[in-house]
C-alpha cells in the first residue's frame, strides 16, 4: 500500500494550500512568515515542511520541553531506577503517572513509578542545590535499596543557577556504589521534547551502555527492542511476538526497561527500533561503536506488522524466516476477522492525526487496514527525517503540519471535517466540543496495547468506539 501514492477525493494540492493560506491569515506578518514553512500539502516524496525550529511565541503550541522528553519518554519507563526530578516540585508532579509507560514489579520496592523530587525552595535557588542532591541520593538509596540506579533529571533552575550535578552524581555514585546518572535536560534547552530524547540518549551513551554484559551465552538471535515505551502494555504485546518468531529480546528501551539490560545492549546482534525519533541516536551510536546494525519497523496494523516481520526476518536465517511465515499465517485470519468486524463500520472515514514523533506516520496504514484514510498529519517535535518518512505514507496533497498551533488545527478540522481526530489530551476536548470523535494517540486514551497483533483488535475496537459512538448523534440539539 505504501508503494503507490494514495489519493483522497476532493483533496488536491490547491485545496490544501488554500486551507493553509486561510489558516495563516490570522497571524501577524512576522508570525505568518515563521509558520508558513511548517505547513504544506504532502508531495509524496520528501519532507515538505520545515521542522525542529523554535516555536513561535504565543501561538498555543502543544509542545513540551527537554525535561518532558527525558523524564516522560526515555528515563521514566526504566522501571528499576529512581528517577529524581531535580528542581522545583512541579515538573515531576506533572509527569507523574501521566504517560502510561506500564511497569512490572512492586511499586516502591523494585519498581519506582513515583514522583521523586528535590522540591527546590527559594534557598536552594540562592545557595544552590548540590548539597541537597547529595543528601537525597543517600536517602533514596537507603529507602529504596533495590533500585538499580538513580537518574538525576535537571529542571530549568539547575542549569541557570550553575549547579554541577555531574560532579555530585559522580561522587555519590562512588560513595554509594550505585549508578547515578546525571541528565542535563533542563526544559529551556532546545525547541521541544526532542532535545530531551537526544540528551538522554547521549547520557545513556556516556554513563550506561557497555557497563554490563549478559550472564548467559550469546546467540545469533539476540536483539534489543528500541523505542517502545510500553504505553498501555505495548511491549507486552510486541516482546512475545518477537519471541514467537524465535528472537531473544535481551533489552527493551525503555518501556518496562531494566537498567542493567540496557547497559548490556551493546552485546546484541540487532537493534530494531519502533520510535525512530526518540532513539535513532543510540542506534547510530551502537552501530558506530559496536557494529550493531539496526532496523526500523512498524507494528501498527496487520499490513505493517507483516511487512516488518519479514524485514526483521530478512536479517536472520531461515529458521526465523520460517517462523515469521508461520506466525503471519497464524495471525492473518485473526486480523482479518477484526477487519471484517470493523471495516464495514469504518470504511471511508477520514482521520486527522497530530501526535509526537512516530505515530503520525506509523499508524496511517493501520487506519487503512480498517478502510480509513488519513487526511492530515503532523508532529509536535519531529525532524526532517521524520517528515521524509511521512510523505510516502500519506495520501497525495493531504496537509502536513509541524508544531501546529491550536488555531491551525481548529481551522483544518473545520475545513476537512474528519470523522476522527487522533491527538493529545490538550486537543481532545476542544475537538469533542466541536462534535468530532477523538482518540488520544499519545496515551491510547487509557486503553491499549495498540502495538502488534494483540494491539490491533484493541485499536480497531477503540477507533470504532470513538467514531461510531451513538453519543455523537446527541450533539445537535433539537431546539
Amino acid at each position: 500500500m505504501s508503494s503507490e501514492i494514495k489519493k483522497v477525493e476532493g483533496i488536491t494540492k490547491e485545496s490544501t494550500q488554500e486551507m493553509i493560506d486561510k489558516a495563516l491569515e490570522v497571524y501577524p506578518e512576522k508570525a505568518k512568515k515563521k509558520r508558513a514553512p511548517h505547513l504544506a500539502p504532502n508531495d509524496g516524496v520528501s519532507a515538505c515542511v520545515k521542522s525542529n525550529r523554535k516555536t513561535v511565541p504565543g501561538v498555543m503550541s502543544a509542545r513540551g520541553c527537554a525535561y518532558a522528553g527525558a523524564k516522560g519518554v526515555v528515563w521514566g519507563p526504566i522501571r528499576d531506577m529512581v528517577h529524581v526530578s531535580h528542581g522545583p516540585v512541579g515538573c515531576g508532579w506533572y509527569s507523574w503517572g501521566t504517560r502510561r509507560n506500564l511497569m512490572t514489579g512492586i511499586n516502591g520496592v523494585n519498581q519506582f513509578a513515583m514522583q521523586f523530587t528535590s522540591d527546590f525552595q527559594e534557598k536552594d535557588i540562592v545557595y544552590g542545590g548540590d548539597k541537597k542532591l547529595k543528601q537525597l541520593l543517600v536517602e533514596a538509596h537507603e529507602l529504596f535499596p533495590l533500585a538499580k540506579g538513580i537518574s538525576v533529571l535537571s529542571e530549568c533552575p539547575v542549569g541557570l543557577i550553575g549547579d554541577d550535578i555531574n560532579s555530585v552524581a559522580k561522587q555519590s555514585a562512588k560513595e554509594l556504589d550505585l549508578p547515578i546518572i546525571p541528565c542535563n535536560c533542563e526544559g529551556f534547552r532546545g525547541v521541544s521534547q526532542s532535545l530531551g530524547h537526544h540528551i538522554s540518549n547521549d547520557t545513556i551513551r556516556d554513563h550506561i551502555i557497555g557497563t554490563r554484559e549478559f550472564a548467559e551465552p550469546e546467540t545469533p538471535y539476540d536483539i534489543a527492542l528500541i523505542g517502545d515505551y510500553n504505553i498501555g502494555g505495548d511491549v507486552w504485546s510486541v516482546k512475545p511476538l518477537l519471541e514467537e518468531i524465535g528472537l531473544n529480546v535481551k533489552a527493551v528501551w525503555t518501556g518496562d526497561g531494566e537498567l542493567e539490560k540496557i547497559a548490556a545492549t551493546h552485546k546484541v546482534k540487532l537493534n530494531i527500533i519502533h520510535c525512530y525519533r526518540s532513539m535513532n541516536y543510540m542506534c547510530r551510536v551502537m552501530e558506530e561503536k559496536y557494529g550493531i546494525p539496526w532496523l526500523e519497523f512498524n507494528f501498527f496494523g496487520p499490513t505493517k506488522i507483516r511487512e516488518s516481520l519479514r524485514a526483521i526476518a530478512g536479517r536472520f536465517d531461515d529458521r526465523i524466516k520460517e517462523n515469521v511465515e508461520r506466525v503471519i499465517a497464524k495471525y492473518d485470519p485473526l486480523m482479518q476477522a477484526v477487519i471484517d468486524e470493523y471495516r464495514p463500520r469504518l470504511e471511508g472515514k477520514k482521520v486527522m492525526l497530530y501526535v509526537g514523533g512516530l505515530r503520525p506516520r506509523h499508524t496511517v496504514n493501520a487506519y487503512a487496514d480498517l478502510g480509513m484514510v488519513v487526511v492530515g498529519s503532523g508532529y509536535e517535535f519531529a525532524h526532517g527525517d521524520d517528515y521524509e518518512r511521512t510523505s510516502v505514507e500519506m495520501p497525495e496533497a493531504t496537509v502536513i503540519y509541524d508544531d501546529a498551533s491550536e488555531y491551525e488545527l481548529e481551522e483544518f478540522v473545520n475545513t476537512l471535517r474528519p470523522d476522527l481526530v487522533g491527538s493529545g489530551i490538550k486537543e481532545k476536548y476542544l475537538f469533542q466540543k466541536m462534535g468530532v470523535p477523538f482518540r488520544q494517540m499519545h496515551s491510547w486514551d487509557y486503553s491499549g496495547p495498540y502495538h502488534a497483533y494483540n494491539g490491533f483488535p484493541i485499536f480497531a475496537r477503540d477507533v470504532d468506539m470513538a467514531v461510531n459512538s451513538p453519543t455523537w448523534k446527541l450533539v445537535k440539539s433539537p431546539f
Binding site: V84, K132, F188
Partner: protein
C-alpha cells in the same frame, strides 16, 4: 560507572529479597527511616504556583492565561487541567529558550503578546511566570510597559501579571498571586466615592470543583443576594458540548470584576488560597470584608448562611432551611455507616479544614492529617478543630510531609479510608482502603467535579459517597453468610 572496569554481569534481584523489602517498607522501622528524610521528597500531592495562576486566569471572561517562560511548563499546566476537568484549557506561552537565559525574555513576551492577541482575540491576558524568568530576574513591569508602548496590544488592554516562582509555595499561592494582580489591574481607578454596587464579592479560592461554584451561585440566588464571583471557572470548565468550540466559554465579567471594588461586601471562602488577595482587598475594597472557612459540612455552611444573612440583612430563605433539614436527615440516616471510622486526609489547607470539620460532625475520626505544603498556622487551626471534638482526640497532623510518609502511616497505623486526590491511589491500594477523590486533581474518575462538596448539598454528596462505598466494601468482601438484603 566506567566501561573499563572488570565485566559486570546483568543481575536479577532474588525473589526472596524482593519479598523481604516489600514487607520491610510496611514496618515501623521503615517508617522511622522514612520520616527521617531531609532532602528527598517523594510523591508530594501539591503542584507549583503557575498551575494555580492558570486556574485563576480561566475564571475571567475572555481571558487567555499566558505563561512567561518555557513552553513545556504551559503544556504541563494545561494537560493537568484537561485531565482533571476533561475540558479544554486554552493557554499560551512565550516559549522562552536558551537564549532567554542570556538576553532575558522580553522579546519572547512581546512577540507572544502580539501573536496571541491577534489569533485568540482575548479580552485580557493574565501573565504568570514559570522558573526561567524568575531565576534570570525578568522585570515584568518594565516589559509590559514596553509592550504597550510597542503596541503589541492596545494601550488599554488589561495585562495583569504575577510572579509565580515554582520554588516557593504551591499552586494555591500562584492562584492567590494571579487573582490579586487581576483584581489590581481591573479595579485600578474604578473605586468611586460613595458608590456601592450592592453586591457580594465571593471569592472561592483555589477550587477545582465546578459544582461548588454553581452551588454558591444557587445559594446566593435563593437568598436574592446579587454577587460577583471572583473568579468563576464554572462555565469555563463545565461547558456544553453542542458542536461549537468556544475558546472562552465562561468566567467573571471583566466589568463586574472591575466594579467589585465598590462592592457591598467581600467574602473569601478560601482563606489560605487567597491570603494576599484578601489582605489587599481589606485595604482597597469598599464595603465589609469577611473571611470564612470553606463551607464543608453543616456547621460551616450554617456559618456562611448566617454571615450572608447578617451582611445583607436578609433572613435565611425557607428553601435553604429546608435543605439544611434534608442534609441533617441524610447524615442522620447514614451516620451509622461512618461513625467511628478512621480517615487519612491530605490536601490543600482550605480543603483539609473542610474535611476535618465535616468528618467530626458526622462522628468519624480524622486520624492522619497531612498537608504537604503547610504552615504553623495551618497546623494550629487544624489542631483547634480536632480539639473541638472527642472524635478528634487521636488525630495527628503532619505538615510538609508527602504521600510516601502517608504510606508509612497507613501501613503501620491503619485507617478505614482516605480522602485526597488521585495521587493517593497507590498508597490506598497498598493499604487496601477506599480513596475518596474530593480533592484536586482527579485523573481517574469521571464527572466528580460536577458534584458540589460545599453547602448542604455537599454534605449529602460526601456522606452518600463515603457511606455507600463502605457498604459496598462490606457487600463485596463479606462471607456469604453475612451477605444480606438490607444494610
Amino acid at each position: 560507572m566506567s566501561a573499563d572496569a572488570a565485566v559486570k554481569y546483568v543481575t536479577e534481584i532474588p525473589e526472596d529479597e524482593v519479598k523481604r523489602v516489600a514487607e520491610w517498607i510496611n514496618t515501623e522501622e521503615y517508617k522511622e527511616k522514612n520520616f527521617a528524610r531531609q532532602a528527598l521528597v517523594i510523591n508530594p500531592p501539591h503542584a507549583c504556583q503557575p498551575l494555580g495562576a492558570e486556574l485563576a486566569a480561566h475564571g475571567f471572561e475572555g481571558t487567555l492565561p499566558f505563561v512567561h517562560g518555557s513552553q513545556g511548563c504551559a503544556s504541563y499546566y494545561r494537560s493537568t487541567l484537561n485531565r482533571h476537568f476533561r475540558e479544554p484549557a486554552p493557554a499560551v506561552s512565550d516559549s522562552m529558550t536558551e537564549d532567554g537565559a542570556v538576553f532575558g525574555g522580553q522579546n519572547n513576551l512581546h512577540e507572544a503578546l502580539e501573536n496571541a492577541y491577534t489569533m485568540y482575540k482575548p479580552k485580557m491576558m493574565a501573565i504568570f511566570t514559570s522558573c526561567m524568568p524568575e531565576i534570570i530576574g525578568d522585570d515584568l513591569t518594565a516589559f509590559i510597559k514596553n509592550a504597550k508602548n510597542k503596541e503589541c496590544v492596545p494601550a488599554d488592554f488589561p495585562l495583569p501579571f504575577a510572579n509565580t516562582p515554582s520554588f516557593n509555595g504551591s499552586h494555591i499561592h500562584g492562584y492567590d498571586a494571579m487573582l490579586l494582580s487581576i483584581l489590581q489591574t481591573l479595579t485600578e481607578g474604578k473605586q468611586v466615592e460613595g458608590r456601592c454596587t450592592g453586591k457580594l464579592n465571593l471569592i472561592p479560592g483555589f477550587d477545582a470543583n465546578t459544582g461548588n461554584y454553581r452551588e454558591y451561585k444557587r445559594i446566593l440566588k435563593e437568598f436574592g443576594i446579587p454577587y460577583t464571583l471572583l473568579a468563576d471557572i464554572s462555565e469555563t470548565f463545565d461547558s456544553p458540548l453542542d458542536g461549537t468550540y468556544r475558546t472562552y466559554p465562561g468566567g467573571t465579567s471583566l466589568d463586574e470584576a472591575a466594579d467589585s471594588v465598590n462592592g457591598k461586601a467581600t467574602l473569601t471562602l478560601g482563606p489560605y488560597a487567597t491570603a494576599k488577595t484578601f489582605t489587599w482587598i481589606k485595604d482597597n475594597f469598599s464595603g465589609k470584608h469577611v473571611s470564612l472557612p470553606i463551607p464543608f459540612g453543616v456547621v460551616k455552611t450554617d456559618a456562611l448562611l448566617l454571615k450572608l444573612s447578617e451582611l445583607f440583612g436578609k433572613p435565611v430563605p425557607e428553601s435553604l432551611k429546608a435543605e439544611r433539614g434534608r442534609a441533617v436527615d441524610a447524615i442522620t440516616d447514614a451516620h451509622q455507616y461512618i461513625h467511628g471510622k478512621k480517615f487519612a486526609l491530605y490536601g490543600d489547607p482550605d480543603y483539609l479544614m473542610g474535611y476535618v470539620s465535616f468528618l467530626l460532625e458526622v462522628g468519624a475520626r480524622p486520624y492522619h492529617i497531612l498537608c504537604s505544603k503547610g504552615t504553623k498556622k495551618v497546623e494550629k487551626e487544624l489542631q483547634a478543630l480536632l480539639d473541638s471534638s472527642q472524635d478528634g482526640k487521636d488525630g495527628k497532623i503532619y505538615i510538609n510531609k508527602d504521600l510516601w510518609h502517608m504510606r508509612s502511616l497507613l501501613m503501620t497505623d491503619p485507617v478505614d479510608a482516605m480522602i485526597g486526590d488521585t495521587h493517593g491511589k497507590f498508597a490506598a491500594r497498598d493499604a487496601n482502603i477506599p480513596l475518596f477523590r474530593f480533592g484536586f486533581p482527579n485523573f481517574d474518575r469521571v464527572n466528580l467535579h460536577r458534584y458540589p462538596l460545599v453547602g448542604y448539598q455537599g454534605v449529602i454528596n460526601m456522606m452518600t459517597t463515603i457511606c455507600n462505598k463502605f457498604i459496598e466494601v462490606r457487600d463485596e468482601t463479606c462471607e456469604e453468610r453475612y451477605f444480606e438484603m438490607m444494610r
